[in-house]
């Protein structure tokens, strides 16, 4: 017999199951506690993942091998200007095939019906590879080469006072026409992204013609990226040269940890774990107390401490399996409902596995108080009860 089949053949599992379901009210209360706890942890960690993905979405969707940026740039949304002439210096390095500029900055979008709202301008070279809008669902990004044209996301139609391709608005007192519409390019700051050409971006953000925010470097196939980066660092001054992955990590770290947002989410998750552990521990302990005669009888008829621990651990694991199944189902509904929101909650296979492991850990940890109680049982008490 395998270890697993032996475990299930043992009455310890049946005893645990019967003990658990014997008092249905307490069982329901326990499961609600676990579900509440795990849903809270799911939301917090899902938000953490969703936030982490949103803050790096521009970097992740840019095609390029290296990013050149002013020294000290914290994230993609940190618009410090650098001299665009560095682009030519970068192009002179062997192995570099192309360097494109990206200009970002805040601007004021005047609604056609009156009023204004801030927008985040992203200017890029529409004729070169680099950072382009994606998920285009209407119009075409090629049309952005026409002066005074922009691409916006459909999520922000109401905020921007537009209805789709052909809508007219105004940025910095310059008329703009929506020529492309994207889906799902949302900003975690809730300020709408507006894609446009490089020169229009400079005009809308007040950036001088000789300046850019980032330079995206494309390398030749099989080029030695470390070597080229070293040469770029030597050639260019007052800039940092980061790989795509490094810039991704820097942005993520800044928004999640330097701002304290990630810590707050983790604190919420930890709180959920603590609440769940306390609830399960309390119910397991009182269940063990209610069945103390049975545990004493088990001890009296010669069961080992391990056997009794197995019964209690099975109870904890059953709680975990049932609680997690319900919590995960609720979690997936929440993920679905928030998919189109400003800050979607993300559920990945990895997070699902982590949540399951956390649930099991929480429930097994909760069993400790019950096990301590059982270990103190005097088997001779069966003679007096």
């Amino acid at each position: 017999m395998t270890v697993m089949s032996q475990l299930f053949a043992s009455l310890a599992f049946k005893l645990a199951r019967r003990n658990l379901f014997h008092d249905r009210l307490r069982f329901v209360a326990t499961v609600i506690g676990i579900v509440f706890s795990i849903v809270l942890v799911t939301v917090q960690l899902g938000l953490y993942l969703g936030f982490g993905r949103m803050v790096t979405t521009m970097i992740d969707h840019a095609s390029g091998d290296l990013w050149i940026m002013p020294t000290g740039t914290k994230s993609f949304e940190d618009p410090s200007p650098l001299d665009e002439r560095k682009r030519f210096a970068a192009l002179s390095v062997n192995g570099v095939t192309d360097v494109t500029a990206v200009v970002i900055g805040f601007a004021e979008w005047r609604l056609p019906g009156g009023g204004a709202t801030p927008v985040f301008i992203i200017g890029y070279d529409v004729r070169a590879p680099g950072l382009h809008p994606w998920n285009v669902i209407a119009g075409s990004i090629e049309s952005l080469s026409i002066p005074n044209t922009v691409a916006v996301d459909q999520t922000y139609f109401e905020r921007l006072g537009v209805t789709g391709v052909g809508s007219i608005a105004e940025i910095r007192e310059q008329k703009v026409e929506v020529v492309a519409v994207t889906k799902g390019i949302r900003s975690f700051t809730t300020t709408p992204y507006v894609f446009t050409s490089l020169d229009r971006a400079r005009a809308y953000t007040g950036t001088s013609a000789a300046k850019a925010t980032f330079l995206l470097v494309h390398l030749a196939p099989n080029a030695d990226i470390d070597n080229i980066r070293t040469r770029l660092r030597t050639t260019l001054t007052d800039v940092e040269v980061l790989t795509q992955a490094e810039f991704h990590e820097r942005s993520r770290t800044f928004w999640l940890f330097d701002t304290g947002a990630g810590a707050a989410l983790f604190a919420g998750a930890l709180l959920g774990m603590i609440v769940g552990t306390v609830i399960v521990a309390q119910t397991l302990y009182s269940s063990t107390k209610d069945h103390i005669n049975e545990f004493a009888t088990l001890r009296a008829i010669g069961s080992s401490g391990r056997y009794i621990h197995t019964v209690i651990i099975w109870q904890a694991l059953l709680n975990a399996f049932i609680g997690f199944t319900i919590a995960a189902s609720i979690g997936f509904v929440i993920v679905h409902l928030t998919a189109e929101s400003a800050l979607p909650i993300l559920m990945t296979p990895g997070l699902t596995v982590v949540l399951f492991a956390l649930t099991v850990f929480m429930c097994v940890t909760s069993a400790i108080s019950a096990i301590v109680k059982v270990m103190r049982i005097d088997p001779a008490m069966v003679f007096t009860r």
Partner: protein, 277 residues
């Protein structure tokens, strides 16, 4: 012959031997000397009664003999294994391998069927699967409950519950059966039936049965009666329990003919009166 000499049967292949057992309970001002040098042995094939008034040390002695506690002084040997210096796990091992318990209030698991309650004694020994189920069924058949395997304790009468407890005690072929007031919670008919089962079990030449009781009605079933008072054995006598007298109530397949057993109560009463004379 001294009481001590009568009680201890050395060199007779005893399955349980207690020598000069002293047990002190509590500490400081609350210290009580519950056992004051008790010696006894249990030989297989006998049903022994331990009788005494409340507070005489019966339960403490049963706890010490049953390896639920170790003696403060003296030695207890279970099938040759001394309990001296044994920790809780070693004592539990001695219990599961050598001792079957029967309790006054049955201590069955209310959420398990009769069959599972009996199986539990094998389960804690790591014996699972079909063979364990078959042995549990056999034990239930032995106590006359072959038809109640799927019943839960709440569906059984007190006598039936105690018989399930007996089946649990014997299923592992423990050489020592310790019973604590097994008839105290039962009416006379059921108490009588239970004692018949225990008496029959005690006829097994590999098994010793010790019954703690204050019920004089069960004296006729015993081969030995040990009297305890104030933590000391104060007397021992030979009982009138017949080694083959109850076989008329046992069917060929080994199960108990309960109705017959109960109907025989009158003859037992007669036997009891004879004993009292």
């Amino acid at each position: 012959m001294t009481i001590h000499a009568i009680a201890v049967q050395e060199g007779t292949g005893a399955v349980l031997e207690a020598t000069d057992v002293v047990k002190v309970l509590g500490v400081g001002a609350g210290e009580v000397r519950a056992l004051k040098g008790v010696s006894l042995s249990l030989a297989p094939g006998e049903l022994t009664l331990l009788m005494g008034p409340s507070g005489s040390g019966k339960t403490t002695l049963l706890s010490v003999l049953g390896c639920m506690m170790t003696p403060t002084e003296g030695t207890v040997r279970i099938c040759g294994h001394s309990t001296k210096g044994a920790g809780p796990e070693e004592l539990a091992k001695l219990r599961r391998n050598h001792i079957g318990f029967i309790f006054q209030s049955y201590h069955l698991f209310p959420t398990l069927t009769a069959l599972d309650n009996v199986r539990l004694a094998l389960d804690v020994r790591g014996e699972h699967g079909r063979e364990a189920v078959a042995r549990a069924k056999e034990a239930l058949t032995t106590v006359g409950l072959a038809h109640k395997t799927k019943s839960f304790p709440r569906e059984l009468s007190g006598g039936e519950q105690q018989r399930v407890a007996i089946a649990r005690a014997i299923v592992g072929n423990a050489p020592i059966i310790l019973a604590d007031e097994p008839t105290a919670a039962l009416d006379s008919k059921n108490g009588h039936a239970i004692m018949e089962v225990l008496a029959r079990i005690a006829k097994d030449p590999t098994r010793a049965v010790l019954v703690v009781t204050h019920d004089p009605r069960i004296v006729p079933f015993a081969q030995r009666i040990i009297h305890i008072e104030d933590g000391c054995i104060v007397g021992e006598e030979r009982g009138g329990g017949e080694r083959s007298g109850e076989e008329r109530n046992v069917s060929e397949d080994g199960s108990i003919d309960e109705a017959h057993g109960i109907e025989e109560e009158d003859s037992i009463k007669t036997k009891r009166k004879r004993m009292q004379r």
